[in-house]
């Protein structure tokens, strides 16, 4: 089943996402941000990076890119939509996920493995995980600190400790329907024991399972 991996100018994790999803049997394809049609795709991933150079505010310009229109239609029709790191920031800026991501509490970029706990298995990302399952996955962000003043967000994965000040220790957040998920740590970077962990696979497998259950647009 086909999954679109959106590429904005400044995206940089798109090839890693393609590689990790490809090994799990999905058919990922890179799609440039000016594309206005995602017909035939079962779902979409917004990968990490620095879309549009983080100009203005991280994710702010990307949220207005042409591809976000079909992404929004997919989200509204219940198809799996996953934002990783910068993709999570873009989904918040686009209003497809609640809250916003601001600078880390210590005002420093953080790149290291963190422990997270799956607290909600009813989403397209966590469908294959056990409730309470602990995972070791790399965090890699400066604006990873999720804030949600309205407290409407559905936290699906939590940091075991508090690396960046994120509200409710949220590492991943979903919309009400559970088909749109943003996650700050990178599951694709924990996809091979040789790289230090393959704990991210259970999340990506859940996403691939959700793609399979989804009818192409």
């Amino acid at each position: 089943m086909r999954v679109a991996v959106a590429v904005f100018p400044g995206s940089n994790c798109e090839h890693d996402v393609v590689r990790a999803l490809g090994t799990l049997g999905a058919e990922p394809e890179l799609v440039w941000h000016r594309e206005t049609d995602l017909e035939g795709f079962n779902g979409v991933v917004l990968p990490g990076g620095f879309a549009h150079g983080d100009a203005l505010r991280t994710g702010a310009i990307a949220a207005l890119s042409p591809i976000m229109e079909p992404v929004r239609r997919m989200a509204e029709s219940g198809k799996p939509v996953l934002g990783i790191c910068n993709g999570f920031q873009i989904l918040c800026e686009a209003g497809m996920l609640p809250g916003a991501l601001i600078a880390n509490r210590d005002l420093a970029f953080i790149c290291r493995f963190v422990e997270v706990e799956v607290v909600d298995t009813g989403t397209v990302l966590t469908a294959a995980a056990e409730p309470g399952q602990m995972l070791r996955i790399p965090l890699n962000s400066y604006e990873g600190n999720w804030v949600d003043p309205a407290r409407t967000g559905r936290v699906v994965v939590r940091y075991a400790d508090d690396p960046n000040g994120s509200q409710d220790r949220a590492a991943a957040v979903a919309n009400e329907a559970g088909n749109v998920v943003g996650i700050m740590p990178h599951p694709e970077r924990a996809s091979d024991p040789l790289l230090g962990s393959d704990d991210g696979l259970v999340l990506l497998e859940g996403f691939v399972r959700s793609l399979r259950a989804s009818v192409p647009a």
Binding site: H15, A20, G53, R112, R189, L194
Partner: protein, 716 residues
């Protein structure tokens, strides 16, 4: 100090003699734009005029060398149709004037050097040196440089796998910021910095040209510092990693579609260099129309456009029938592109601006006719005095000394810095920062590329030849403990003022030391950089060559050794020669006072045997760790901290525990293995404390000291 009486050539950093050679080449007085071009191209930074004669000593040939020194990056064959491109550069002077942008643009520049060759940059390292962190200005510089590396490297989307950090008084007035980049490419994608054939069109890609960085190569990088350094800030360029990211992707697409005949990045000396060098290499000339250059600001003069070091620009040489396609690729990646010139059949570089001729010079003369100086060389008189005063520690309290060493910012954990760098992108980092060498897997090949860089200013002050040779041996051993065989070297020679005969002697000795070690190892030098005039107010830095060794693990070990793989019950072995009582240049010596004594020399025969052993053991041992900064006690402590397991060590004596003699590494193995000829069992892993003789300390206390080294110093 510039006055009305100072001639223009002197304001541009040229000597009278150099000016006279320009007049003689042209047969007339140069026009302003011509003088500007010669001044930057003939600067120390661009022309290597003081060092070039000596750099010829380097061994540069091997069957696997595809491109040696002189191009933008060295390129070696790693088999199965793959090539690796590697390059190291310095950005010392800009980083002192403006640490964040100085470091950031250093990263940007080294990336362009590598993707100019047709390679995708896959990893960055940096080697950075500062004065002690108890001085606020040094903390500011360190923080700014790390911030610049992180800010640029992360956003441009190339992982930074660490490097090395050293602190010493001599860098207070002159920090060192060296950056290294590795790229990989398919053989057929190799591109060179050549203009190709007459009629080819020069297309300027990327950022608009502005007034930033004018004279960066001549005014800033090729002169010493004084109190007026801050006034040189406008000579520092400003980086934009987003522009560079788009430029990388656009260029890689141009290579993939075979749309360029040659390409050159715009770094030091800007358009002056990017037009003259590729034309000169092809034995051709070029017509350049500066009115076609896309500019960031109005009213720029021809010399300004030619000297500007605005970042994130490339000059591609394109067959006329491919120009439209090149412009389409640029448009798709949202970068600007201008057709600015055409390659000529003769050897003239002819530049026009505002419809007028502003330069007409032999293109090759800008590079090939640069001055070559044989500066006086003299061994410093103070060296014998230093050698006569070796540091003799006698017996020291083992655990207190170990904790003191671990608390040194140059010995303790560098996580404060490297956790600010994205070091995991591209899913290739098998052995990352915090280890002796980095190991990257090359997707789909079963091969791994290992890289290690080493520098040690104090060691090289005491004996530049022995010191620099030991750097090569250490870097080679560091790649070997990941399972890789050394393949090639790059070097960055950071030295003081070459107009002093003692500094020139250090240069000659360093080149000899590196060359000798490389010959013994059978590896070529494929590229390098020389940074001179690292002095402030007349005081030179310690001679600080930085050596990078690239190694190939083929095949890569199934589970390459890492520091965190030790388990209770495993045996600890020390492989290598018996240590001597020589502490010259060691961290124990740094703790206790001034440098003295003559460092132990590398032993090529032993060094080769130890490297062979390390490569073999990398396929069976869970942990291999080089004995270097701080000696064996620190080596063991780092394994304990990373693995969260204690150890009992049956060794004693200051030389055994804290000496830094070369060619030694530790292997942690399961009992019952086949012991290597050069090895001896020195202890066993287990418990939650490190015991050495009758002293002991908890692993938690070791970890606290080690992890706190930089954070504590930054809070002081």
């Amino acid at each position: 100090m510039t006055t009305m009486e100072t001639p223009v050539y002197a304001q541009l950093g040229m000597t009278e003699e150099e000016y006279r050679s320009v007049v003689s080449i042209l047969g007339r007085e140069p026009r302003p734009a011509e003088l500007a071009m010669y001044s930057v191209m003939w600067s120390e930074h661009c022309s290597y005029k003081s060092s070039r004669a000596h750099l010829r000593r380097f061994p540069t040939e091997a069957p696997w060398v595809v491109v040696g020194p002189g191009e933008n990056a060295g390129v070696v064959d790693i088999g199965d149709g793959w090539l690796a491109a590697i390059r190291i550069e310095s950005h010392n002077h800009p980083s002192f004037v403006e640490p964040y942008q100085g470091a950031a643009t250093g990263v940007g520049g080294i990336l362009r050097d590598v993707f100019t060759m047709g390679a995708r940059p896959v990893a960055l390292w940096n080697q950075i040196r500062f004065g002690p962190l108890d001085q606020p200005r040094n903390r500011y510089l360190f923080n700014g440089v790390v911030g610049g590396i992180a800010g640029y490297g992360n956003a441009v989307g190339v992982p930074t796998l660490g490097g090395e950090i050293e602190f010493d008084d001599c860098y207070s007035g002159n920090p060192l910021v060296n950056v290294m980049c590795l790229g990989i490419l398919r053989k057929e994608q190799l591109v060179l910095g050549t203009a190709g054939e007459p009629g080819n069109v020069a297309v300027l890609l990327g950022a608009a040209t502005g007034r930033d960085g004018i004279g960066g190569a001549s005014v800033l990088a090729s002169a010493s510092f004084d109190e007026e350094a801050a006034t040189k800030r406008p000579s520092v360029q400003v980086g934009d990693p987003f522009e560079e990211k788009k430029l990388i992707e656009a260029c890689l697409e141009l290579y993939e579609r075979d749309l360029v005949a040659g390409i050159q990045d715009l770094g030091a000396a800007g358009l002056s260099c990017a037009t003259s060098e590729p034309a000169g290499r092809a034995g051709l000339g070029m017509d350049v129309d500066l009115d076609r250059v896309h500019l960031r600001e109005t009213g720029m003069t021809a010399p300004e456009i030619l000297m500007s070091e605005s970042q994130e620009r490339m000059l591609a040489f394109v067959r006329p029938d491919n120009v439209d396609e090149v412009l389409e690729v640029a448009e798709r990646w949202e970068i600007d592109a201008s057709v600015i010139g055409t390659v000529r059949a003769d050897d003239r570089l002819v530049v026009s601006h505002d419809g007028e001729l502003v330069a007409d010079v032999p293109a090759a003369s800008l590079a090939d006719d640069a001055p070559l100086y044989h500066r006086p060389v003299e061994r410093p008189g103070w060296l014998d005095d230093l050698w006569s005063r070796p540091f003799q520690p006698g017996e020291v309290p083992v655990i207190d000394t170990l904790l003191d060493l671990l608390r040194q910012p140059g010995v303790g954990s560098a996580a404060w810095a490297y956790e600010q760098y994205d070091h995991m992108l591209f899913l290739g980092t098998v052995v990352g920062p915090g280890h002796d060498g980095s190991l990257l897997r090359v997707a789909g090949t079963g091969k791994g590329l290992a890289v290690s860089t080493d520098g040690n200013g104090r060691l090289c002050l005491l004996d530049p030849r022995r010191g620099s040779a030991r750097l090569v041996w250490e870097a080679a051993l560091n790649v070997a403990v990941t399972g890789a065989r050394p393949l090639a070297t790059v070097d960055n020679l950071n030295l003081g003022n070459p107009e002093k005969p003692e500094v020139m002697w250090q240069l000659v000795e360093v080149v000899e030391g590196i060359s000798g070690a490389c010959e013994a190892l059978g590896i070529p030098v494929v590229g390098g950089n020389v940074s001179l005039y690292n002095e402030t107010d007349g005081a030179d830095i310690n001679p600080t060559p930085v050596v990078g060794v690239l190694g190939l693990a083929d095949p890569m070990p199934a589970l390459p050794p890492r520091l965190d793989r030790a388990e209770p019950g495993m045996e600890i072995w020390l492989i290598g020669p018996e240590p001597t009582d020589n502490f010259a240049g060691s961290h124990l010596e740094r703790l206790h006072g001034p440098a003295g004594g003559r460092p132990t020399a590398a032993d090529p025969e032993v060094g080769l045997a130890v490297i062979d052993e390390a490569v073999r053991l990398a396929h069976v041992a869970p942990v291999l760790h080089d004995v270097s900064d701080g000696g064996l006690a620190v080596t063991i402590a780092e394994i304990c901290i990373a693995s969260g397991v204690g150890a009992t060590i049956e060794l004693e004596g200051t030389a055994e525990l804290f000496g830094e003699d070369p060619h030694r590494f530790v292997a942690v193995v399961t009992p019952g293995w086949d012991p290597p000829a050069l090895g001896r069992r020195i202890g066993v892993m287990g418990g939650d404390s490190l015991r050495i003789g009758d002293e002991s300390v908890s692993v938690a206390a070791l970890a606290e000291a080690w992890r706190g080294a930089i954070p504590e110093a930054m809070r002081s």
